[in-house]
């Protein structure tokens, strides 16, 4: 990686602290759904880390992302940034926070306004955070960030979101991260719509940003193979609670919680010689792992 580190966000050193965060949504017939249930953890930038938040749909992982980003006010508990509640920041502090904590969402299409060229997400950010003064400097800055994520400026600038592929759109978001140099990246299922190879490239960039620019990344996903790929630490979320946490290398090899085990057992291993010897049964909609000991083998090759 080159030495061009852009202009660093001035939020360095500030921690994000979640304390007993809960989110209750009103459900059917007056019931209340606890999407997030008393979750507490810290995100620190010293040293920069990658932390994966893993869970099935409905486990509350996206809600946690929205709460950290200040997009949703939790019904209980608090989120502090640099020691202050993120919903009680001064205007100036909020600007710092907005730059220092950046989102990457699942569908890179939805964040682009279809009526504007994609350049706008860069110019808007440059203006809002006063990164450079002149338009020439702005263009130089954008082009440099694009080249870092291997996008050719002439192929993407001046275009509309629908003219670009999903991979290109997601890389534009990476270029934007490079330009803004946040301390924190909150990535909510950023690769679930990408093909394997494009997915790997995206994750490689994210890991590189973590190492080179010290971006602490909260990586939210349901896909354990991407967690294994990025490494770092992980937390398993089940019914709005963190049920297991630790280094990825340990949790994925020696899971201690049944739910993590179930998630691991659900991943189809891409090896026809290692077909499942157990099965998952649904008992009243609740999945349960049952050992059968029998394996339906892949057929012998008939063609030599």
């Amino acid at each position: 990686m080159s030495d061009d580190t852009g202009t660093k966000s001035d939020g360095a050193g500030k921690k994000i602290e979640l304390e007993n965060v809960s989110q209750v949504f009103p459900g059917r017939l007056g019931t209340r759904i606890r999407a997030v249930d008393n979750v507490s953890f810290d995100l620190s930038n010293e040293p920069p880390k990658i932390i994966s938040l893993v869970g099935a749909s409905g486990s509350g992982k996206s809600t946690i992302a929205r709460i950290i980003l200040g997009l949703q006010r939790p019904t209980g508990g608090s989120v502090r940034y640099g020691g202050k509640n993120i919903f009680r920041l001064s205007r100036r502090e909020r600007d710092t926070f907005r730059r220092d904590v950046q989102p990457v969402f699942q569908d890179p299409y939805s964040i682009f306004n279809p009526f504007y060229r994609v350049d706008r997400i860069f110019f808007k950010a440059i203006k809002k955070f006063k990164l450079v003064k002149s338009k020439t400097d702005a263009i130089t800055m954008i082009e440099r960030s694009l080249s870092v994520v291997q996008l050719t400026p002439s192929e993407v600038l001046g275009r509309y979101a629908h003219q670009l592929s999903g991979g290109q759109r997601q890389r534009l978001m990476l270029a934007r991260l490079h330009m803004l140099q946040p301390s924190y990246v909150i990535a909510d299922e950023p690769v679930s719509m990408l093909d394997a190879q494009v997915r790997k490239n995206f994750l490689d960039v994210l890991v590189r940003f973590n190492a080179d620019f010290g971006m602490t990344t909260l990586f939210i996903t349901h896909d354990l193979s991407t967690v294994a790929y990025v490494g770092g630490e992980m937390k398993t979320l089940f019914h709005g609670r963190v049920v297991e946490e630790g280094p990825v290398s340990k949790v994925l090899t020696e899971p201690s919680h049944d739910y993590t085990r179930l998630l691991l057992a659900s991943v189809p291993e891409p090896d026809p010689d290692r077909r499942w010897t157990d099965r998952i049964d649904l008992v009243n909609g609740v999945p349960r792992l049952v050992e059968t000991g029998e394996r339906v083998p892949a057929p012998e090759d008939t063609t030599a």
């Binding site: 099935a56 093909d195 394997a196 190879q197 294994a228 291993e269 090896d271 026809p272 063609t303």
Partner: protein, 281 residues
């Protein structure tokens, strides 16, 4: 000697655009044998879904079949080209002989009809004889086959989760004992545990009912666990077809090799290994 149930010959499917026609399926030859589970692998945009809808004459404008044949061999009777037969013949074949589980099929249930009524519609429409109570029992039985409770029959789609809807459709797909089920991305957009249940269900359909399965998915893990044979599609062409073990262990085509290499795994040291390989080069 394997007996073919479906033969795709020289299939070319194009989409009309303002800048000329774009070829999505570019001369596909593929034979599905009776009783087997054949997987079609490939990344998004390779043409696998376009191929699936074209087989059943379900391609919609601006897409159209430019040339080719899709010969279906029913259990009894003469082979028939699905691309040239009459709409009436095609209607009779769908559900009855060939069932199709479309991509995102959990969205293809009628939102304002109970599951039972949707089953009954399909079964009566396609000439399932028997009284109402016979059909009733059969629905309960079918739901049971995919691990659903009989009470699901009296529910509306919005009361079901994505995985339950997917399984309702699988039960519907086998309602008329078809020879062939074509499943397009059957596990996409479902939770991992439910994905696995769906894969188990598909394997059981094949084992218990002898249904031939054509399973289209980008998920190589699903192919490894489920398929007898795999066809790999790239840029509208089938680049390699072989036994599941051969394709995974000894891929011949260069694209297949790349595809196999890029499969995400649960190996926690994979990135370190890849980097070591890279620097060793």
């Amino acid at each position: 000697m394997p007996e073919p149930i479906l033969e795709i010959k020289g299939l070319v499917v194009q989409y009309r655009t303002t800048k000329g026609d774009v070829t999505a399926v570019d001369g596909v030859d593929l034979t599905v044998n009776r009783g087997e589970i054949l997987g079609v692998a490939g990344e998004s945009g390779c043409g696998k879904s376009t191929m699936a809808v074209s087989i059943l004459g379900l391609i919609r404008p601006p897409g159209y079949v430019r040339e080719g044949q899709v010969i279906f061999h029913p259990q009894k009777g003469a082979p028939i080209d699905l691309l040239t037969c009459s709409p009436r013949q095609l209607r009779a074949i769908r559900w009855g002989n060939i069932s199709y589980l479309p991509q995102g099929s959990m969205n293809s249930l009628n939102p304002i009809a109970r599951v039972r009524d949707q089953f009954t519609d399909v079964m009566e429409e396609h000439g399932e004889r028997g009284d109402r109570s016979g059909i009733r029992d059969r629905i309960d039985l079918l739901l049971g086959e995919v691990g659903l409770d009989a009470t699901v029959a009296d529910m509306y789609p919005h009361e079901l989760s994505g995985g339950m809807k997917q399984r309702v459709l699988m039960a519907m797909a086998i309602a008329l004992s078809p020879d062939l089920v074509i499943a397009d991305e059957p596990t996409t957009a479902l939770d991992v545990t439910i994905q696995r249940v769906i894969v188990q269900n598909l394997a059981e359909l094949s084992r218990k009912f002898g249904v031939t399965l054509l399973v289209i998915t980008h998920d190589m893990g699903v192919h490894a666990q489920l398929d007898d044979r795999v066809a790999v599609m790239y840029q509208g062409r089938i680049v390699e077809t072989g036994g599941v073990r051969q394709v995974f262990k000894d891929p011949q085509d260069e694209y297949t090799q790349r595809l196999i290499r890029s499969i995400p795994t649960l190996d926690v040291n994979q990135r370190a290994k890849a980097e070591a390989q890279e620097s060793a080069r």
